[in-house]
């Protein structure tokens, strides 16, 4: 074991949990109306608890265990309750305890990202049931396919820090859930303005910093790969944010705070799968592309399709994840400043693998998410009733108010 590597992954783990609590919670909390702010914060916290328990009981085993004959598809159950783990167990050059914790923070943020799709209207009990089953059926298998020794990893899919595993799954699940449970009452006619953009910008800043742990930590070592991942992550975040801001400035005459932070998330989500493979020039291109494509995807889904993916999870994370995963297949090439394609693999081959990764992840997530929602709706209504929605989830679901001022 290497103490430098261990120290960096311990730090990264803390950074990635910080992305969810309180980064994402604040980012999302500011975007909803004041009557729903606690519901969003609460969902982020509760999902953190549930994902942790699932992870210990069976999650780690299903994602990173040895699945034997079925290992292409699932990690199996040999490590349930973290059996066999000791203080001295190693995973590569770091303690296995640290690896388990690091990967757990990814399993936490992914279902937490989804809540943006169904914010302000989904029943709390349904959210908990859905998140639990979704982790078991979508997150853990996909994580195993890509990182746990499953079929996509064996094919050579490049996904450094979770373009497919985290962002495509979360984005697709969010929009499918939004469509199944329907738009918020009054969408898109009624104004549903963010109630506290200061909170959103604060959370966004935490996401930017936390993302260094997410991407540079995914090197699982404290070395050149981590350094390059941090550099390109930062470049893409800045470029994405700047691009989104400029588009708004040109189109609407005013650059907005919400625009600049949304572009930042787009830039970060998009560089994620590519962050360990590409160079700084590619990061500029990826950030610029993310700002543009995620921007127009957001406009299209909200204003043209009129789908109430309330906090724009799919256009920012889903589209960003797809774009980044495909970009990784191109910019990995050493003549484009990347870390280089594997021996005997052409750019076309690699790009083909990336397309397979995107499609497999997207389709499996869409189908499974739809089925899980149908299953959950047999036990509990997915949506709160109209009166509760109008009153706000803070009071109707939690009997509390975010603000007593």
């Amino acid at each position: 074991m290497d103490s430098g590597d261990t120290a960096w992954i311990l730090t990264s783990t803390a950074l990635v949990l910080f992305m969810t609590l309180p980064g994402l919670a604040l980012f999302y909390g500011g975007l909803v109306r004041s009557k729903n702010v606690l519901s969003v914060l609460m969902q982020c916290f509760a999902i953190t608890c549930i994902a942790t328990i699932v992870w210990v009981v069976v999650g780690y085993s299903m994602a990173f265990g040895d699945g034997g004959a079925a290992n292409d598809w699932l990690g199996g159950f040999s490590r349930i309750f973290l059996s066999g783990l000791t203080r001295d167990s190693a995973s590569g050059t770091i303690p296995e305890t640290v690896f388990i914790m690091f990967q757990l923070t990814f399993a936490i943020i992914t279902p937490a990202l989804i809540i943006g799709g169904f914010a302000e209207r989904m029943r709390f009990s349904a959210i908990l049931l859905f998140s639990t089953i979704w982790l078991l059926v979508v997150y853990l298998p996909v994580c195993h396919w890509v990182w746990g020794g499953g079929w996509l990893g064996q094919m050579g899919l490049l996904d450094f820090a979770g373009g497919t595993v985290v962002h495509i799954t979360a984005g697709v699940a969010a929009i499918v859930t939004a469509m199944v449970i329907g738009n918020r009452k009054g969408f898109p006619k009624t104004a549903m303005m963010p109630h506290n953009l200061t909170m959103t910008v604060t959370g966004a800043g935490m996401l930017w910093v936390g993302w260094f742990g997410f991407n540079a930590g995914s090197a699982l070592a404290a070395g050149g790969d981590a350094g390059m991942a941090m550099l390109v992550t930062h470049i893409s975040a800045a470029t994405g944010a700047f691009t989104w801001m400029m588009i708004e400035w040109i189109r609407f005459g005013k650059p907005s705070a919400l625009g600049v932070v949304t572009g930042m998330v787009a830039g970060l989500g998009t560089i994620t799968p590519a962050s360990g493979y590409v160079g700084p020039m590619a990061a500029l291109v990826i950030g610029f592309a993310a700002g543009n494509i995620c921007y127009f995807a957001t406009m299209y889904i909200k204003n043209t399709l009129k789908i109430d993916d309330s906090l724009d999870v799919f256009p920012v994370h889903g589209v960003g994840g797809i774009l980044g995963t495909l970009s990784a297949g191109i910019f990995v090439a050493s003549n484009l400043g990347g870390s280089g394609l594997a021996e005997g693999v052409s750019m076309m081959d690699q790009f083909g693998v990336q397309v397979v990764g995107v499609l497999a992840t997207g389709i499996w997530t869409a189908v499974a998410t739809y089925a899980i929602l149908k299953l959950v709706s047999k036990f509990v209504d997915l949506r709160v009733d109209e009166e509760a929605e109008t009153e706000g989830l803070d009071l109707s679901s939690h009997e509390e108010k975010g603000y007593n001022i």
């Binding site: 005013k254 907005s256 949304t262 406009m299």
Partner: protein
């Protein structure tokens, strides 16, 4: 006595207050209010979702004055609150039956 109610742009509040102090007005009450007139509302844009906000924030002030002060007060408000752009506000003048100072029970113009 008259009660003068003026709706003005919020950023003009200090100017109006100073102008009224200069002509010897000793007290007024202000409220934060929302409304619309010919200016209509304004639009806000969040990630491309455009919302029309019907009501614009304004300040409303109420000043109780003796009849001979009305013109001076109205002129001072107009002078200090005017920008010349739409949305500068309105002034309403209504009769005021009585005024009573709580501390001393004085009533009428001497209570102002």
């Amino acid at each position: 006595m008259k009660l003068i109610a003026a709706i003005i742009k919020p950023f003009k509040l200090d100017d109006v207050r100073n102008a009224l102090s200069d002509i010897g007005i000793n007290g007024l009450t202000v409220y934060e209010v929302k409304g619309f007139g010919r200016q209509k509302g304004h639009t806000e844009l969040y990630r491309g979702a455009e919302y029309v906000v019907d009501y614009i924030p304004k300040m409303k002030m109420e000043i109780a004055v003796d009849d001979d002060q009305v013109d001076a007060v109205v002129d001072a408000i107009i002078e200090s609150a005017r920008t010349g752009k739409i949305g500068d506000g309105k002034i309403f003048v209504t009769p005021l039956e009585n005024a009573i100072r709580v501390r001393t029970s004085e009533s009428g113009a001497s209570a102002l």
